[in-house]
C-alpha cells in the first residue's frame, strides 16, 4: 500500500484513475475545483482526457456522450452545478448510461458560502431530475480514505447497474487533509475489494423493459451494434414509443433493477448500538465524526446513546430504523432533510440537530443527548439555544 497525505479531492482523483476513468469533464466551482484540477493533471498521463466544459449541463452531457462511446467518465461539482446536471442526469438514468458524479456539498441555497460545508442536496440527489419513475444510487463518504474507496465503488455500481451514481460528499470531506492508503497494484486493489468492472459492449437489445437484471452491458455506439438510445420512452430496440404500457415496463426496470439488489448497494456503520441504546444519532459525511465523539462522551457519562453513519443514502435504508429508539438526525442544514426520511422509516417522530456552514460542536451534541435522556427536546438550532 502507498501511504499519502492529501485532500478528499485528491483521493477521489486516485479512486477514479484506479477504476479506469478515462474522461473527466467539469466546470470550476468551489469546493470541487481541486478534483477537476487533479484530473487535468493525472488523466493525460494515464491515457485519459480532461475536458473543461462551458457549463455543468455540458459537463455531464460530455461525460455521458463519452460513456455512450464506451469510456468510463466522471464529473464533479457543488450544489450550484449539481442543479444544472438535472437535464443530462435524467438522460443517463433513462438511457441507462453509467457515469460517476461527485457533489462536494456547500451551504446554500444558491451560492451561499462557497467554502463552507453543507448538506442541502440529500433530497435533490434522490430526485436529481424531473419526471419520476426511477430510483437513484447515492453514496456518502465520511473521510478522505473513504472518498478514495467509494469512488472506485461508485464506478463499479455505475457499470453494474447501468446508471449514474452520485457521491454526495461535503466540503469538509473533499477539502479536508488526512492520511490515506491506496493500493499499489491491481492485486492489492482486488484484495481490498476495490474493483470496477471493465466496460462491456451490449450486442442488443438496447433495453430490458420489465427486467431487474444487473450486470448487463450498456448501449455503446460506434461498434456496429445498431444501438439506439434517446430521451424518449424506449422499446427494447431503442425506438421511441408513446405507448403507456411500454413506459410502465421501462419504469419498472429503472426502479427495480436498483431496489431488488439492495445488498450490493446498502452501506452503513454503527457505533455503540449493541446494547440497544435509548438514543441513536443518525448522520452521514463529516458531521458523523462529531456525532461519534459525542456518543463516546455520552457513554462516559453513563448516558444510553449510539449512532448510525449512513454510507449509502439512496435507496434509503429503512430497515436500520425498525429498532425502537429516540432518533436524532445530525445534519449540516437548518431545516432538516435526513430527519424526514428517518421519521418515515421508523414510523415515529424523530429529533433534529442542524448547523449552517459549520460542524456542530461535540459539546452541543452531548448537551442534546443529555436533554433527550431527560425527555426534553434537544434545542438543536442556534436560534433555539441563544438569543440573537
Amino acid at each position: 500500500m502507498k501511504k499519502l497525505f492529501d485532500t478528499g479531492n485528491a483521493a477521489v482523483t486516485e479512486g477514479a484513475i484506479l477504476a479506469g476513468c478515462s474522461l473527466f469533464a467539469g466546470y470550476p466551482i468551489t469546493p470541487a475545483t481541486e478534483i477537476a484540477e487533479n484530473m487535468s493533471r493525472r488523466l493525460p498521463l494515464t491515457g485519459g482526457y480532461y475536458v473543461q466544459a462551458e457549463d455543468e449541463t455540458a459537463a455531464l452531457h460530455i461525460c455521458i456522450g463519452a460513456s455512450l462511446g464506451g469510456m468510463k467518465a466522471m464529473t464533479s461539482t457543488s450544489g450550484p452545478g449539481y442543479v444544472l446536471y438535472a437535464d443530462p442526469y435524467g438522460w443517463a438514468i433513462g438511457s441507462e448510461i453509467p457515469v460517476v458524479i461527485i457533489n462536494a456539498q456547500r451551504v446554500g441555497p444558491v451560492s451561499g458560502i462557497t467554502g463552507a460545508p453543507g448538506q442541502g442536496e440529500f433530497y435533490l440527489s434522490r430526485y436529481p431530475t424531473h419526471g419520476g419513475n426511477f430510483e437513484t444510487i447515492v453514496l456518502a463518504p465520511g473521510s478522505v480514505q473513504e472518498a478514495f474507496s467509494m469512488t472506485v465503488e461508485a464506478f463499479a455500481l455505475a457499470e453494474r447497474f447501468r446508471t449514474p451514481v452520485t457521491i454526495l460528499a461535503d466540503q469538509l470531506v473533499t477539502d479536508g487533509w488526512e492520511s490515506f492508503e491506496i493500493p499499489e497494484n491491481a492485486e492489492e486493489a482486488l484484495s481490498l475489494g476495490l474493483y470496477a468492472p471493465a466496460r462491456r459492449v451490449h450486442q442488443g437489445p438496447c433495453f430490458y423493459p420489465a427486467s431487474d437484471h444487473i450486470d448487463l452491458p450498456p448501449v455503446v455506439l460506434g461498434r456496429g451494434t445498431g444501438g439506439a438510445c434517446s430521451d424518449w420512452t424506449p422499446t427494447e430496440e431503442g425506438y421511441d414509443t408513446e405507448d403507456a404500457a411500454a413506459h410502465m415496463r421501462h419504469a419498472y426496470r429503472l426502479i427495480h433493477k436498483i431496489r431488488r439488489h439492495r445488498e450490493i448497494i446498502d452501506r452503513q456503520e454503527s457505533y455503540m448500538l449493541e446494547d440497544n441504546p435509548k438514543i441513536v444519532l443518525v448522520s452521514y459525511g463529516s458531521p458523523s465524526r462529531v456525532a461519534r465523539s459525542a456518543v463516546k462522551a455520552a457513554r462516559e457519562r453513563g448516558l444510553s446513546a449510539g449512532c448510525i453513519r449512513l454510507k449509502s443514502l439512496w435507496p434509503f435504508q429503512d430497515q436500520l430504523f425498525r429498532r425502537k429508539a429516540v432518533y436524532m438526525a445530525v445534519e449540516l442544514n437548518a431545516e432538516g432533510q435526513l430527519v424526514r426520511e428517518i421519521e418515515r422509516a421508523s414510523h415515529a417522530p424523530a429529533h433534529f440537530f442542524g448547523t449552517c456552514g459549520e460542524l456542530p460542536a461535540a459539546s452541543a451534541l452531548l448537551e442534546a443527548i443529555a436533554r433527550l435522556s431527560r425527555g426534553l427536546p434537544p434545542e438543536s438550532l442556534r436560534w433555539e439555544r441563544e438569543a440573537w
Binding site: 498521463l45 462551458e54 455540458a58
Partner: protein, 280 residues
C-alpha cells in the same frame, strides 16, 4: 419505397412520421444522397438528433447507430462521443432551429470553438412547430404565429447584420452553408463538403412547415403556395418587409484550417505521455 430509404433507413421508421407535405423529407433525402455519393456505409456514421420536428422525425431512422439528446444539448453529448469514437466514424446531427439557435446555442458555439468533428444539419422550419407553431429565432418579423398573435416584434438571427452563420464563423466553424430544402444537387454538394470536413460543419436548411407555419403565418393550406412563398424568400422576391432575403450556397469554407478537437487532444495527450515517460 424510395431507393435511398431502403438502403439506409430502418423499415420500422419508413414512411416518415412527419406531417403530410412536410419539407423535412427533402432535407433527410439530401443527407442520404450526400452519404451515398461519398460512398459511406451504415457503420461509418453515428446519427444523433435533437428535440422538435427535425429531431423526433429523424431519430432512429438510420440503419446504424442512433442517439437523441436532450433539448439543445446534443452538441455537448456529441462532443463527448467524438472523443470515444475512432476518427473515421462520422457524427451527423439533425436538429431544429429552436434546438440549435435557441436553447442549444451556447453548446453549439462551443462545439464550433473546439472544432469538434461533427456535422450539424439544422433543418429549420421557422419556429416551434411540434408544439403548435410558436415563433423561433429565424421566424421572419411581423409574422403571426401561435405565440405572436399580433405579429412578431422579436429580432431574429436572420436579419441584416445578425446572421447566425456570422456568429458560427467567428466561433471557429470550419464549414457553413445555407440552402432551401427543395434545392437540388448544390445543397447535396454542401452536405458532402460538410460531412467530408474532419472538424465542425453546419448546414442550415430551411424547409416549409405546411401545418403550422403555412396555416397560421402564411394563412394558407395550399402546399404549392407555401412552397412558392419559400422559393420567393430565397430569391428576395417575397416583397415582404419583414422577410429577409436569403442567399443560398456556401457561406464559409475553411475546411482543414484548424485541427479537429478529438484528434488534437489525442495527439497532445500521447506526446505528453511520451515526454513524461519515454519508455511507455
Amino acid at each position: 419505397m424510395d431507393r435511398l430509404a431502403v438502403k439506409y433507413l430502418r423499415p420500422r421508421k419508413t414512411p416518415s412520421t412527419a406531417c403530410s407535405g412536410c419539407g423535412l423529407g427533402q432535407v433527410h433525402k439530401k443527407i442520404l444522397l450526400a452519404i451515398e455519393q461519398l460512398g459511406l456505409g451504415i457503420n461509418d456514421i453515428v446519427w444523433g438528433t435533437g428535440i422538435g420536428c427535425s429531431g423526433r422525425q429523424t431519430f432512429n431512422t438510420w440503419k446504424g447507430d442512433n442517439f437523441a439528446g436532450t433539448h439543445g444539448r446534443v452538441y455537448a453529448l456529441a462532443t463527448g462521443l467524438r472523443l470515444a469514437l475512432p476518427e473515421d466514424k462520422k457524427i451527423i446531427l439533425t436538429v431544429g432551429d429552436g434546438d440549435a439557435f435557441g436553447i442549444g446555442l451556447s453548446h453549439l458555439l462551443h462545439c464550433a470553438r473546439r472544432n469538434a468533428g461533427i456535422t450539424v444539419i439544422v433543418a429549420d422550419n421557422f419556429g416551434y412547430q411540434s408544439t403548435g407553431g410558436q415563433y423561433g429565432y429565424t421566424t421572419p418579423q411581423s409574422r403571426v404565429t401561435d405565440s405572436s398573435p399580433y405579429g412578431l416584434t422579436d429580432p431574429n438571427w436572420l436579419q441584416n447584420g445578425l446572421d447566425i452563420l456570422n456568429l458560427l464563423r467567428d466561433a471557429g466553424a470550419g464549414f457553413l452553408a445555407r440552402h432551401l430544402s427543395f434545392e437540388g444537387q448544390n445543397a447535396v454538394e454542401s452536405i458532402k463538403r460538410a460531412i467530408g470536413n474532419k472538424g465542425f460543419s453546419l448546414v442550415h436548411i430551411i424547409y416549409p412547415c405546411v401545418t403550422h407555419f403555412g396555416e397560421i403565418s402564411l394563412k394558407t393550406g395550399d402546399r404549392e403556395a407555401i412552397f412558392r412563398w419559400f422559393e420567393n424568400l430565397f430569391d428576395g422576391r417575397s416583397g415582404d418587409p419583414g422577410t429577409p432575403a436569403f442567399k443560398s450556397g456556401i457561406f464559409h469554407d475553411a475546411v482543414g484550417a484548424r485541427p479537429e478537437f478529438s484528434a488534437a487532444l489525442k495527439a497532445w495527450t500521447s506526446s505528453l505521455r511520451q515526454k513524461e515517460n519515454p519508455r511507455a
